[in-house]
Each structure stands twice: as C-alpha cells, then as structure tokens.
C-alpha cells in the first residue's frame, strides 16, 4: 500500500531525479575531460618548461571547449526540470 504511494510519487516527480542524475553525469564528464587535459598539459610543461605560457593558454582553451560540451548536459537537466 505504502509502496504504491511511494511509486506513484516517484513516477510523478521522476523528471527531477533524472535531471539530477544527468547533471551528475555531466559533472563527471567534465571532471574526466579537464583532468586529462590538465594532466597532459603538466606532462608537457615538465618536458619543456620554457613553453609553459603557450601550453597554459592552449590548456585553458581546450578546457573551456570541453566544459562547453558538459554544459549541454547541465542545460538539458535544467530543461528536464522546467519542461
């Protein structure tokens, strides 16, 4: 009896839960992507310290692009909540 009420409440508000999961996966994706970029950038700096400025500029650019992709997930999550 309680289970059916719980199930019904969950089914009606499912879009909130899925939105939260989607946002979490987007954050996970951003973390993995930018972590890899940062790690490879640090290796490159270790190999060639005099290129630090160029590497840093490119790292920030690539990180912003990856974060843009992750933001798609955030926006879809927001849409799932509102629509």
């Amino acid at each position: 009896m309680f289970l059916s009420i719980l199930l019904q409440a969950a089914a009606e508000n499912a879009h909130f839960g899925f939105a939260a999961i989607g946002a979490g996966i987007a954050a996970l994706a951003a973390g993995i992507g930018i972590g890899r970029i940062g790690g490879d950038a640090m290796q490159a700096i270790a190999r060639q310290p005099e290129a630090t400025n160029d590497i840093r500029a490119n790292m920030i650019l690539a990180a912003a692009l990856v974060e843009g992709a992750a933001m798609f997930g955030i926006v879809v999550g927001l849409l799932a909540m509102v629509l």
Binding site: L61, A64, L65, G68, F72, V75, V82
Partner: protein
C-alpha cells in the same frame, strides 16, 4: 564628449529611479483576495491548484529557494532590489491591433492586476479584454491579441545592457581620447590598463586565427570581447545597477552568436563553401554522410557558442545563489543553525566567486577566440599543394 556621456548615463539613472520605487510592507491583501505567491516555475501547472494553500502561508511566507534562484537568474519586468522594494521599469508593448502602449510596470502590482488590456503571468506579457485593475485570476486570456503582441519593454536585462553600454562608452571613448592626445607616446591612466588587453586580442586572437586580413574584424572582436567581459563581471556584483544576469540570458547570447553566424555567412568565400559542401579529397560514398554533417556544423557551431556562454554564467550564478539559499533553508529549521551554516556558505561563496571571476574572463576569451577562428576559416584563401 566625456561630459555628454556622463550626462546620458545620469539621465538614464534619473529616469528609471524617478519612476516611483514601489514599496509595500508585507502582503496587505484583503482576506477575500485570491492572490497567490507564484509557485515554483517547474510546477507551473499546479500553481492554480495550490493557490488556496499558499494563501494560508501568506502570514509565514515560507522561503522558496527555487523561486528565489529563478527570480535572480531570469529576466523580469521590474528590478527587484531588496525585500519588498523593487524598481518598476517601463512596459513598452506594440500590438498590431491595439497600437503602442507605454506605461510603468508598477500598474501591474507585481503581476497581480491587469492594466491597459495586458497582464503579466510568470514573466510573460499576455493580452486580455478585462478592464484595468482586474485581478489576474479573473482576467480571461485573449489568445488572438496575445499572438499579435510584441513586448519590447525595458526589462531588467535591457537596463543591465544599457548600463554596460554606458560603461563601455565611458571607458573606450576616454581611451580613444587618450590616443588622440598622446599619439604613440607612453600611455597614461585607463589607457595603460586597456591597451595590453586590446593588444592581446589583436595578436593572440585576431592575427593568430584570421591572418593578414585581421584588421577588418578587429572592431567586432574587440566589441564582443569587452561586451561579454563587462557583462560577466557586472553579473557578479549584487548591487544596483549591476547584478542583472545579462550574459546568462539565452536571448543575449543568442544575439551574439547570431551576429557571428551572419558574419561567417557574409564573408564565406568559395573555398570555404566548397569545403563544406564537397570536401576535396574525400571518396563519394563518405561525402554522402560528410556533407549533411558539415551543413549541420555550420548551424551547430554558433549554437554551441550561445549555449556555452549561457550555461557557464548561469550555472555559476545558480551555485552562488544556492549557497545563500542554504542559509535560509537551515535558518527556517533553527535560527542558530542558520547562522552556523552562513559561515560555511560565505566561505564557499567567496571561493565560488573567485572561480566565477576566472570563468568571466575565460568565457569572454573563448567566445572571441572561437568567433575569430570561424571567421578565419571563412576567409581563408586556398593554399595550393
């Protein structure tokens, strides 16, 4: 010239402050009044059903974090300052059947009443046949007239943009005046602050991506860079006249991305379109898949420019607002708990604001860099192998 700019800025501020700052202590509505607090945006459908329950909550005015966050991040027809004080902004509506109407949004009584044949519902301006002053719940929506309505009001975002435009004019007209006075001599004052940034955009963004013909696009790239940067920074300052979430508004970022899109269309040369519609050196069967993807890419690239800026800025604002909302959520349970959480919230908000500052600069740079890259690709001359 500087005096003229200052006078214009002062005029704008006087104009909008002069329109009476509406102030009302608490919700002093009659018992029979069926006004209700607008419930969470997400459950708009349940809003009407819940208004009877919300009426009982009028006295306690329970804190609604969703409403507070959405209210700060989205556009509105007045400018909410603090508590129950807000600055009413002019409503400018053009209806193809009724003509132009201009009046103060104070007439709407915070979205509770109709006026001039219009009323506000969840931020949207709708048309009605009800006489002035009718309560919003009694007003029937006239769909035909609503479809003929063009809402060109001065909203919070529009006023925020006007403020940033005024700021940009003040800064850059003074810098240009400095160059006119000093020529190639050593820069002084504001000029010495802006010059490295302009040179950075010229060398690392324009020249690197567009090549020898970069000068043509410098005004556009500089404008876009500084417009986005100043709006991002203004969105972080909570004090009027700053604090409008301009660059986090999808309409503003759409307009910026649309300008980039139109520029790439106009300046695209034969070589560019040739590469999109029939990429050379690719076998015919692959071309069947590649060409639709490339055409999709032409539209997708400005779209992702739009979403990247919008999502980054809005997400940052929502995070900071959520930390503040946490204080009030805990404060409702126990006042002491609220104070305790406020220390932790403040620390996190300061950290997030530092990150937001970094994001403000990075997003302005990335938008400009990618616009320059797309423009450079559009005007690239073929290099023969």
């Amino acid at each position: 010239m500087k005096a003229l700019i200052r006078a214009t800025f002062l005029l704008f501020s006087v104009l909008f402050a002069g329109v009476s700052v509406a102030q009302h202590e608490g919700h002093e509505h009659a018992a029979g009044d069926t006004t209700h607090q607008h419930e969470m945006v997400a459950t708009g459908a349940e809003a009407h059903a819940e208004h009877t329950e919300a009426h009982d909550e009028h006295a306690t005015e329970k804190f609604d974090p969703g409403k507070m966050i959405m209210g700060h991040v989205t556009d509105e027809h007045g400018w909410h300052l603090w508590g129950h004080t807000s600055l009413p902004l002019p409503i400018i509506v053009y209806n193809t059947e009724r003509g132009l109407s201009v009046f103060s949004s104070a007439r709407f009584d915070h979205g509770h009443k109709t006026y001039g044949g219009y009323f506000l519902q969840e931020g949207k301006l709708l048309a009605t046949d009800a006489p002035d002053g009718t309560d919003v719940h009694g007003a029937t929506l006239n769909e035909a007239l609503t479809a003929a309505t063009w809402d060109v009001s001065i909203t919070k975002n529009v006023l925020g943009m006007l403020v940033s435009i005024a700021l940009m004019l003040i800064i850059f007209l003074s810098v240009a005046g400095g160059y006119r006075k000093r020529g190639v001599g050593a820069p002084k004052g504001l000029q010495s602050f802006i010059e490295p940034i302009i040179l950075f955009v010229r060398d690392d963004v324009a020249k690197a991506n567009i090549g020898p013909k970069y000068e043509r696009f410098m005004p556009f790239l500089l404008t876009v860079f500084f417009f986005i940067l100043i709006n991002n920074l203004m969105g972080l300052i909570p004090i009027f006249p700053f604090g409008a979430n301009v660059s986090g508004s999808i309409s503003v970022t759409f307009a910026l991305a649309a300008i980039t899109f139109v520029l790439t269309l106009i300046h695209g040369n034969r070589h560019y379109w040739g590469h999109i519609l029939a990429m050379p050196g690719v076998p015919k069967p692959v071309l069947l898949i590649l060409t639709p993807v490339e055409i999709l890419g032409v539209f997708l690239r400005p779209a992702i420019l739009m979403i990247r800026l919008f999502a980054n800025i809005t997400a940052g604002h929502i995070i900071v607002l959520s930390f503040f909302a946490l204080i009030f959520i805990f404060g409702e349970i126990n006042a002491g708990l609220g104070w305790g959480v406020s220390v932790f919230s403040l620390a996190f908000t300061i950290f997030m604001s530092m990150l937001e500052l970094l994001v403000a600069f990075i997003q302005a740079f990335v938008f400009t860099f990618l616009s320059a890259m797309y423009l450079g690709a559009a005007i690239e001359e073929p290099h023969h192998h």
